[in-house]
């Protein structure tokens, strides 16, 4: 079952992600995808993640598609203006790649080409509106399209953002702009997540809980300190600290989390962050 069908049929959706290579050798990316074949409904392809230049997302999506995977085409606003983004989206649709996830994107100066000009002609809300326009048969300037793409439109949200209210207002804008499902930033506190999720689902959108497996207490502390919108509760950090096999403990924590929120959301998005090989173990543990 692909992502679209999972979401529309009410099946608990499972996605993960792969990163395109720096270079033209896609074998490793395809190998990572291979491990997850049959375990996930779709694989996200990141777009020059963290502003580090890589093989283009669209090409990577085509490779995955050709290998029989369902790909989610992530589109950021950092590197392309509205013309380039629209034409790439049309290009993607022409290859049958119809899952898109609209993001604003990390800033250029944090990446490996800090001197580049950042574009941000659009940001996520405006991009979502344009994707909806395309789906409706017109481009952003109102011109008619010959051949109309169909998209499953996703966006992202950070339920633990600080401060939260501006983030929430932006989330609502994204909903109004036409996002139908949301993938969240990594979440760890079931209670706060489910309360957000309940609110969001009330607006008629699907929510995929973002999970990142914690492999050590140090990693948890690092994320708390450096990654915006991530709140690993102290109890979990203590648990990892006390463990002789923190990786196993991390997997158990993740599985337990999925267990706890499963009935309150529409799926889960497992971010591998450099440990793709662990994803199947997580899914096993969570019974997915």
């Amino acid at each position: 079952m692909n992502l679209h069908d999972a979401l529309s049929s009410g099946t608990f959706a499972v996605t993960s992600e792969v990163g395109p290579p720096k270079g033209t050798d896609v074998s490793e990316m395809l190998a990572s995808a291979e491990i997850l074949r049959g375990r996930v409904h779709a694989l996200n392809v990141t777009d020059n993640q963290a502003a580090v230049m890589r093989l283009c997302t669209l090409a990577a999506c085509i490779h995955l598609k050709n290998a029989g995977h369902d790909a989610v085409y992530q589109v950021t606003c950092r590197d392309r203006n509205r013309l380039a983004m629209q034409s790439d989206l049309l290009g993607a649709a022409s290859f049958g790649i119809t899952n898109v996830l609209a993001l604003t994107g990390d800033h250029i100066v944090v990446g490996d080409h800090p001197a580049a000009k950042s574009v941000f002609d659009y940001e996520s809300v405006q991009l979502l509106e344009t994707i909806v326009d395309l789906k409706g048969g017109r481009d952003a300037a109102g011109n008619e399209l010959h051949g109309v793409p169909d998209f499953t439109i996703g966006a992202v949200v950070t339920p633990d953002a600080k401060p939260f209210r501006p983030q929430l207002a932006k989330f609502e804008k994204k909903v109004r702009a036409g996002a139908t499902y949301f993938q969240t930033q990594a979440v760890y506190d079931p209670e706060s997540f489910t309360s957000f999720s309940a609110y969001a689902r009330g607006l008629g959108v699907k929510i995929l809980a973002g999970v990142v497996v914690l492999r050590s207490a140090g990693m948890a502390r690092f994320m708390n300190k450096n990654i915006p919108g991530i709140e690993v509760p102290q109890a979990l950090i203590d648990q990892l600290e006390a463990s002789n096999d923190p990786v196993q403990t991390g997997i158990e924590i993740t599985a337990r989390f999925i267990e706890q929120v499963r009935s309150e959301c529409d799926g889960v998005h497992v971010m591998a962050v450099g440990a793709e090989h662990l994803v199947p173990r997580i899914l096993d543990a969570a019974g997915l």
Binding site: C77, Q126, A161, P166, A169, A177, G229
Partner: protein, 218 residues
Amino acid sequence: MIVVRRKPIDEILKMVGRHTRVMLVGCNTCAAVSLAGGQKEVDTLIELLSLAASRKGFSVEFSDAILERQCEPEFIEKLDSQGYDAILSLGCGAGVATLAGDNDKPVYPALDTLFIGSAQGFASWQAECSACGSCVLGETCGICPTTRCAKGILNGPCGGVKDGTCELGDRPCAWVEIYDRLESLGRIDDFGKTMPAKDNSISARCCEWDMTKEGDDS
């Protein structure tokens, strides 16, 4: 005000080092106010260049002049640069350009023009405006998202904001500030209005503004 900053000496020396008599021209408006182009900075730069030039074995002679505003031809007319073979401007880009357009000698910039900004106490400025040609400050309570948001985005904070600080870590998140200010003014509903992407054609077409020209008198 336009905020400027002195270029690295090497860069300046590469431009003026091949000349023999160079006049440094300061600007007593924005460049002076941003502490980079007044009499004092002109004097300091002359000392610095003289020292640097003599260490490199160049023999360049420098002298100074201050203009009230370099971006006005009438002020520039007062400048007597006879006998000099180059001019080093301590004005903003507009000053350099105006001087250069009015002169038969090469005019070099000693400063980099940074932004249009406001003073934040002594020797400290904040970028406030990007001269985009289509102002949205009315919607954002006077905080320019195009300028003060690192990404210049128009519809609320990105996911990078951490405890109210921008993803780049060097400034408060403009969108959190806009949110707070809208809220304190009882205008929080306005935050929910989606702002369309900027019409960049306005600035693209705005190469001059001549009110005396027919058709330009909007």
